[in-house]
Symmetry: C2
Subunit: 111 residues, 2 copies
């Protein structure tokens, strides 16, 4: 299977749309066919397929064709990239907050 590291721009772009996040939420319960996946969405099947392509590009979904049915499932690589970026930021932010706390506790004339 050809799995490269998902591009972080594509990952966050994919996650930035409510319909795409809803697709991921639906797929969180397990793999399903595109037509089954599309059922609850009030958009055309073509629109769902387009969203799936963006999710595939972001490494968040894998689709496999078996006979006439295309089955989609969650691909955790994209999730891992997003989570890593958030964790890295949080670690730095927390250090930044510590520094802010120190700064605010200094007498005003020293700031």
């Amino acid at each position: 299977m050809d799995r490269k590291q998902p591009d972080i721009d594509r990952v966050f772009h994919a996650l930035g749309d409510p319909t795409r996040r809803a697709i991921l939420e639906r797929l969180s319960n397990g793999p399903m066919s595109v037509s089954h996946l599309a059922e609850p969405f009030e958009v055309t099947l073509a629109a769902v397929v387009q969203h799936l392509q963006v999710l595939e590009d972001g490494g968040l979904v894998q689709a496999e064709k078996g006979g006439r049915v295309r089955t989609c499932r969650i691909e955790p690589a994209g999730l891992a990239v997003a989570k890593q970026w958030l964790d890295d930021r949080r670690n730095l932010w927390e250090r930044g907050f510590d520094r802010l706390g120190e700064l605010l506790s200094e007498p005003e004339e020293l700031r």
Copy 2:
């Protein structure tokens, strides 16, 4: 301070742009003025201000005016919302993978 729960659409939309993520990366090192923040970016100050507005709307940045200087800092609420969503998906995905594993270990005629 008026802090409401950030809207998840706005959070991920804000994170879906590389310049905005670069702004957050720069702010991860500590609070700074808008003009200092904008220095390394090859976009206009007005564009940085617009990106900051999107980040504020997503609960990822707070800006405060002190005299003539507007100071920006990371606001962790938006980050927490994004992380929670990713964690929730992952928990479900992992359960889904367990089920997929069970399915794949069944004899083919039972699938």
